[in-house]
């Protein structure tokens, strides 16, 4: 069975800027995949190349085994893309937009499915409102709906929650999760690393057009981040511990790998006669992974 997405040696230049540099990436069917990277890393270019909005200079991109150039009809039918920009057609109502979008994909009577999407995205009451009258958050929901009219097995969301309120974020993720559970492959780019950490089972990180990290979320967290014991004390902690610790505003952060290391650390502090005023245990966190990968400390570990 072919992968949901297979990207092989894809490069793309805009003038002298190399937006994508020999990118290889494979997303399996049913995955919830995160594509992370700073602005300008090439995430949107990669998605655009996959969607046929931009032509790669070299390499090939496949959606469920169909080349996005040579077999674009099949590839586009299998792919739903939620663009990053908040775009809409001001001439039409929400329902008209969705019916027209269905027609573009060759689907005639789609009202049943359109109703279902509207319901799931909390848009039912806005169905006959003109697009111009909607708030930004509502327009964003319509964009998601438009990407889903043809029931694509592979769904790509380019920063779908940028500038979106908490309620929509939760409605959206609940819906996308259900789609994922129903077998849809989801690819997500986001600036909210917490979202990626909670949702994605695998993550690729892009930097300057190259994949610099690619692994399951759990593995990435394990490899690049650790638990850490954070404490506030009334004096300096023993030098032995302070060596590995980071200090920030009266708080000490002591990294550790396994929980049985915590007790000896606390014992040493107690033995030094140091009083602990506050204490918490920090979990590995994707933000830390991201920062470390982007600083380029682990490029050699790209799998």
């Amino acid at each position: 069975m072919s992968a949901a997405i297979r990207i092989t040696q894809v490069s793309k230049c805009f003038g002298s800027v190399r937006a994508l540099d020999h990118v290889d990436l494979e997303v399996q069917r049913g995955e919830f995949f995160g594509l992370l990277g700073p602005n300008g890393a090439g995430k949107t270019t990669l998605i655009s190349a996959l969607a046929g909005l931009v032509r790669a200079d070299s390499g090939s991109l496949n959606v469920m085994g169909h080349d996005v150039q040579l077999d674009y009809r099949a590839a586009r039918r299998l792919l739903g893309v939620v663009p990053q920009e908040l775009v809409f057609d001001p001439f039409f109502t929400v329902r008209e937009s969705l019916k027209i979008q269905s027609g573009y994909f060759g689907i005639r009577d789609n009202d049943h499915w359109i109703d279902e999407i509207l319901e799931n995205l909390g848009l039912t009451s806005k169905a006959s409102a003109n697009m111009r009258m909607l708030s930004g958050g509502m327009k964003r929901r319509v964009l998601v709906a438009q990407a889903l009219v043809h029931r694509p097995p592979v769904i790509v969301l380019d920063e779908p929650t940028a500038g979106v309120d908490v309620e929509l974020r939760q409605t959206l993720w609940a819906f996308i999760r259900r789609l994922n559970e129903a077998g849809h492959t989801i690819v997500l780019t986001t600036h909210y690393l917490e979202e990626a950490e909670n949702l994605c089972n695998r993550i690729a990180m892009l930097k300057a057009g190259r994949v610099v990290a690619l692994d399951t979320t759990a593995q990435l967290l394990r490899r690049f981040s650790t638990h850490c014991l954070r404490l506030r004390t009334d004096g300096a902690i023993p030098a032995e511990l302070a060596r590995d610790a980071a200090q920030n505003g009266g708080w000490w952060s002591l990294p550790f790998d396994a929980f049985d290391q915590v007790e000896p650390m606390l014992a040493k502090i107690r033995a030094a006669g140091c009083r602990i005023d506050d204490l918490e245990i920090g979990k590995p966190d994707l933000e830390e992974v991201f920062v470390r990968v982007m600083q380029g400390q682990h490029e050699s570990q790209v799998s």
């Binding site: 969607a51 046929g52 909005l53 931009v54 032509r55 674009y72 009809r73 099949a74 586009r76 039918r77 792919l79 893309v81 663009p83 920009e85 775009v87 809409f88 057609d89 001001p90 001439f91 039409f92 027209i100 979008q101 027609g103 573009y104 994909f105 060759g106 689907i107 005639r108 438009q146 043809h150």
Partner: protein, 251 residues
């Protein structure tokens, strides 16, 4: 042609129809004003091919409206979609470049014909009109609309901003249509400008169209058909090539 094509065509027609006062009403009014002013000034002074001036002017105005509105439809739709970004809605689906081209051009032809019919309806009270050879009327209206619709696609794809599109319109389309014999017979021009006019393809569109009404014209309708047909073939090939390469749209 699949359902994707017919939907895009329908959407393009719906787009101008939803703002018909602006896309149909306004050009009909403009043409009516031209007629009132020019016929007031010139009627009684000028006869062309033995036809009174007002009658001569009407087909010219009708065809000019067909052409200008066909151009306006595809070009403004594309530039608006590009500037606002909603062009992605037609680029993401499995619509071929041929379907894309035909949908935009046919919708342009429809807009041209609707406005042309409106102008005819508003003006034909003012002078006796024949419909001597009606097939020519239809043929030149369709082909002229398709040519300007194609030019509109080219301009809409090429222009990045509204002012670039306006330049295309003001410095190319307007001179071509105004200097084509809409308001006069080219036989009334000095020999040099007659020659120049014969290099303007829009002259043949209007001349052939007018032939359908009066059965007489500056050039033979068959020559006009050959010129207009060649222009359409060349422009279609050129535009399809742009779309196939994804020029500006997919880059």
């Amino acid at each position: 042609m699949g359902h994707g094509f017919s939907t895009l065509f329908y959407k393009e027609v719906l787009r101008f129809w939803k703002v018909a006062s602006q896309t149909v009403g306004a050009p009909v009014l403009t043409a009516l004003l031209y007629l009132l002013i020019f016929s007031h000034v010139l009627a009684g002074h000028v006869q062309v091919h033995g036809v009174i001036y007002t009658a001569f002017l009407i087909p010219g105005l009708v065809m000019m409206s067909v052409l200008q509105n066909a151009f306006a439809n595809s070009s403004s739709s594309l530039i608006q979609s590009k500037v606002t970004g909603n062009i992605v809605f037609v680029l993401l689906p499995p619509i071929s470049y041929l379907e894309f081209y035909l949908a935009y051009v046919l919708a342009s032809v429809v807009r041209g014909l609707v406005v042309g019919a409106g102008v005819l309806l508003a003006t034909f009270w003012f002078a006796p009109l024949d419909f001597a050879e009606p097939w020519w009327i239809l043929v030149f209206a369709l082909m002229g609309g398709a040519i300007l619709g194609s030019l509109g696609v080219i301009a809409g794809i090429w222009a990045d901003k509204f002012d670039q599109l306006a330049a295309f319109q003001n410095f190319l389309i307007m001179p071509l249509t105004f200097l084509s014999g809409v308001f006069y017979s080219v036989h009334s021009l000095p020999p040099f400008w007659q020659q120049v006019s014969h290099w303007n393809p829009v002259f043949y569109m209007i001349d052939g169209f007018r032939h359908g009404f009066f059965g007489v014209s500056d050039a033979s309708p068959w020559l006009s058909l050959a010129v207009v047909g060649s222009c359409l073939a060349v422009l279609t090939a050129f535009t399809l090539n742009l779309l196939k390469r994804g020029y500006k749209l997919r880059n």
